[in-house]
Symmetry: C2
Subunit: 386 residues, 2 copies
């Protein structure tokens, strides 16, 4: 008889699974990406005047060809941004992180942004979903995305089932260069996969060729493998290899391992969670680095490295560098209790969500602009990508 033991440093990161406590330095080596060095950050700061909190705190920590993107920007050639979303019923805070950072990049570099809404893929991925469902989620998710505050003149949000005509010629050119063997492992497919999912990588790659400039993709590092295929074939079609800037995973409420999951509501804060729900979830589920009793906490202090409320504040919700340092010290020393720390996060979250929902209401007026009538959107509907 024997027991299978998991080594404490074991972790898995693939596009369809994140397990264990991720060692991000190891991941950079495994994936063959580049670390965002202090030099590179300084260079960005020199170009745009400041660094987003997620860059300052290394939430975005890894990249491919970001240096080349900055070269192109400095030379006046420019670049463009591309990200996307597989529509789902209800987005959570984790889903917004890349969009928030992407908005900052757009603001600072004043570049075009393309956001692909994969209503087709989502439908084909899940046996139970209907296309009507994924399209109605697409509508809802687009409102949440617009609420982030993108530039309506320079942002084009498109749904695959609507924009397919414009993308299809370039997609068949991409598809012709990728065999089933090549996409199989990367996209988690096998011979029992449906033929729509097998073709879909061509549609995910197509927007990287929307302009004859370098494309920068901000995304979780788990998405990196998808773009390796693009990098293998882009130049043979006369386009640039897609550059990427990779984020760590905002830890789930329930503990510092893995990532938030839509199927476990207690691991995430949803964008529709009302103040009471946010308070209840944080108080009940948020994994704490504090001590079991107040006495022990005062004596030994809390551990911010494993404390999820602290991590969330650090990743994004407390942007003030002095204030986050203060919180860290007070918590570590035992001066700040777990309940107090949680309350800080609750307040931050609730004011963030209140503002988000206000802007989401406004987005209902703007959806037509981002999808069809805006300056960039109009140009894109007139263009067939070859």
């Amino acid at each position: 008889m024997y027991f299978h033991t998991t080594m404490p440093d074991e972790f898995t990161v693939t596009p369809w699974e994140v397990k264990g406590k991720v060692d991000y330095d190891k991941l950079i080596v495994q994936f063959g990406t580049q670390k965002i060095t202090e030099e590179l950050k300084q260079r960005m700061k020199n170009l745009v005047g400041e660094l987003h909190v997620m860059l300052r705190r290394n939430v975005f920590f890894s990249h491919r060809d970001l240096d080349l993107v900055l070269n192109d920007y400095e030379k006046g050639k420019g670049f463009f941004l591309y990200t996307g979303r597989a529509p789902s019923l209800g987005m959570h805070i984790g889903h917004l992180i890349p969009f928030i950072f992407t908005k900052w990049l757009q603001d600072k570099f004043n570049v075009n942004l393309y956001i692909e809404i994969t209503d087709d893929e989502k439908f084909m991925r899940n046996p139970e979903y209907t296309l009507d469902q994924t399209r109605s989620w697409a509508y809802d998710n687009i409102l949440d995305i617009i609420a982030v505050g993108f530039n309506p003149d320079k942002t084009f949000i498109f749904q695959d089932t609507e924009y397919i005509r414009n993308m299809y010629p370039i997609a068949v050119k991409i598809a012709k260069k990728l065999t089933f063997s090549e996409v199989r492992a990367t996209f988690g497919l096998d011979v029992s996969s449906n033929i729509g999912l097998i073709f879909y990588p061509a549609l995910q790659i197509a927007p990287t060729m929307f302009e004859k400039k370098r494309c920068l993709i901000p995304a979780g590092i788990d998405q990196d493998p998808y773009w390796r295929l693009q990098r293998d074939i882009a130049e043979s079609l006369g386009y640039y290899k897609a550059a990427q800037i990779h984020s760590k995973f905002l830890p789930p409420l329930t503990g510092p391992e893995g990532k938030m999951s839509s199927s476990n509501p207690e691991t995430a804060i949803y964008l529709v969670d009302d103040p009471k729900t946010v308070e209840r979830k944080i108080m009940k589920y948020a994994f704490s680095g504090g001590q079991p009793t107040i006495e022990l906490h005062r004596k030994y202090g809390g551990n911010p490295e494993i404390d999820v409320p602290f991590q969330w504040l650090y990743y994004f919700f407390e942007e003030d560098d002095n204030r986050i340092k203060e919180i860290e010290e007070e918590y570590r020393s035992g001066k700040m209790l777990t309940g107090e720390l949680k309350q800080i996060l609750i307040d931050k979250l609730n004011s963030f969500l209140e503002e988000h929902r206000r802007r989401r209401e406004e987005a209902k007026e703007l959806i037509q602009v981002f999808k069809y009538d805006g300056k960039l959107a109009k140009q894109m509907w007139e263009k067939i990508h070859e």
Copy 2:
């Protein structure tokens, strides 16, 4: 040491290869289709007043659900026709056969016809072709198809790369129901196939669901396997299983086995072949059932069963039943010489081609109607198939 011997009755029929002398009765058993019986022919004749020469002479000899199509027609529910073409550089006479028969069906039953031009598939199938090439062949082939004389109010000719937006929602629903395993053998694919070809069956099946009526597909019997997949899934999507009416293969000029091939110019008469070329090809290459010398021919007579010029006349070019019988008897008896028989075919072919080319010139004016502006075309551009 041993020799591999081919049994005289061995033959192969798949969508991508026809080899040997085809035993069509055996094929009906192998493929599990139905023979077009005399009763079924009589029923068609009663409905529309006459039988096309290709039905009278059993060139169209096999079917699936043709009886159900006639039931629907009799009940006033109706049906629709669907066929297609993978564009190529230069169509030959064999390519026109299904279109000519389809035109007859449309005329007699007064039904809608959809013709899919698979510029995408052709591009992805052949490593050397560019998409610009297959689209320019599409234009040329459409002219030849229009020249056949379809009803411009009831015919919609569409190219995949142009019409994709309208087909894509139903195509992803189809794609979701077909796994790589399922399409692999049928479409001659394997893991080294590109992902575009793997998805393509969904686009070939989509037009069978353009109307909530039964779809009848006239085609060579080698195309039958493609539609078995459609028949497996159609009802689960709320549509009818596609019915088919299958033709034999017009034999290549060079002999009674296999089928015409675009890559061997001496096996086929092209629609652009001028009178001199037609004469030279028939005289030089057309496989004869005659005797080696005039004397022997007069004595023993010719064999119309293996004589290709006779077969071509019988399949289509001599529609008069009395005249073809006369030719057969004269040839079999030795009264008609090989050269005389060939001359009959040459004259028929040349007058057919002359008329075809005249109508092909007129087609340049009509292409806009069949693709975009005609009554059916307009309706189809306003419709998204779900």
